[in-house]
């Protein structure tokens, strides 16, 4: 190997990478937040006594879990507009794909969590006069979230990484900018290493904080 790395190409293009990082954040955080809300609602539907409701939500979950994310993103960009007659921007298609995908996974996490809480917890809450919604909010969900935190953390990290797939439909996020720069300057080693490092710096604090939060929540065990 006679290659001499030259990281000045990274420093010189720092603003471009930062812009990419910003777009990554713009896809990542909202799709996680909306995915969690969607996941909670779909979990309610999955747990419904009505066969039709639980059936439809099951189909939804399986569709998103059993197909590659990459195809989902590309599908929402190229195929979905044909279906509805509205052309989505790459950003919107990526956001929609990731949000719906996250909803499907999060719903399974919620469903597992809600089912793992003993029936007596709901009864204990109802017996003091709470409505089902109050019981869910005050008694069931706090316990579900505590139990499900490791799974949610994993999912959040997965989505951060999956957001890089949006580069294939030309969303100008971090991965896209990294690839563009590396083919412009023929410095893939420096630029892609830098991109990987930025992902690490982005994701690691989340893992660390989630670990701390888990410990804090485990104090009642």
């Amino acid at each position: 190997m006679h290659y001499t790395p030259d990281f000045s190409v990274v420093w010189n293009n720092w603003p471009v990478l930062l812009r990419g990082l910003w777009v990554t954040l713009e896809i990542w955080l909202p799709s996680i937040a909306m995915g969690l809300i969607g996941g909670f609602l779909i979990a309610q539907a999955r747990l419904s006594q009505r066969r039709l409701v639980s059936g439809i939500s099951l189909v939804y979950v399986e569709l998103f879990r059993d197909t590659p994310v990459l195809i989902q993103l590309i599908w929402f960009y190229y195929a979905f507009p044909i279906l509805v007659g509205i052309q989505l921007s790459p950003f919107a298609a990526a956001m929609l794909g990731l949000t719906l995908n996250t909803s499907a996974y999060a719903s399974e996490i919620f469903r597992g969590g809600i089912r793992s809480i003993h029936r007596g917890q709901m009864e204990g809450a109802l017996a003091i006069g709470m409505s089902r919604a109050q019981a869910m909010r005050r008694v069931i969900l706090p316990q579900v979230i505590k139990r499900m935190l490791p799974a949610f953390t994993n999912r959040t990290i997965e989505v951060a990484k999956m957001s890089s797939l949006a580069s294939v439909i030309s969303v100008h996020e971090l991965m896209y900018q990294g690839r563009l720069l590396s083919s412009t300057y023929y410095r893939p080693f420096e630029l892609l290493t830098a991109v990987a490092f930025i992902y690490l710096v982005l994701i690691y604090p989340g893992t660390f904080l989630a670990g701390r939060l888990e410990k804090h929540l485990a104090r009642s065990n």
Partner: protein, 257 residues
Amino acid sequence: MSQNPILEIKGLHKRFGDHHVLKGIDFSVEPGERVAIIGGSGSGKSTFLRCMNFMETLSEGEIWLDGQRIGQQVRGRMTYPEKQLCKVRERLGMVFQQFNLFPHMTVLQNVMEGLITVKGLSRQDARAIAVRELAKVGLGEKHDAWPGRLSGGQQQRVAIARALSMEPEVLLFDEPTSSLDPELVGEVLRVINQLAEEGRTMLLVTHELGFAYHFATRVIFLADGVFHEVGTPDEVLKNPQKPRTQEFLRRFGEFAF
């Protein structure tokens, strides 16, 4: 006895699929009465109690609370609006076999929860009530403990304090000592006894026949989904008239009155 029952049940049936658990029960409770419900396992005694506060839906029948029928007729069918059931459950406190404390809340928070969320009290007022009720069940020192760290007997006493805090008109106890180690049964029964002395209206499903004898003003032996024998503790527990009751008491062995 007063003329107005606090709780009245008419023609109660409960089916789980093909399994007909309760087969037409009529029953009323006067204020201040203490009713012990006994019977073999699977006799439907817990189901009966759980129908009172709609932890189980009724297959047929009517429940009247303080002269008012629970539920609404909508196009010829009985419906039970959630708002109404919440009010009913607030008025009929329930203590469960498995305590059902909220593990993510401290002892004090467990007792305050209903006061804040259901009654809409301020934290300060809720706290004052919770402190008082916990002192009453002898757990004044355990405010900040997590339920998981308490003994079964202590957990059950917290559960009783939680039910009491809502100031229910009737207390329903569903085998409150059945999941406790024998040495912890006494502390829970003492608390229940103390409530009896206050003149509270209580329904108790239990296997503690000795306790039932001293506690109850009326004893019901439930078998095959019907009230097989009903009477004073002396009548049912000491001089049962029906062979089935006699057999049950014999199988349950010796107990000291």
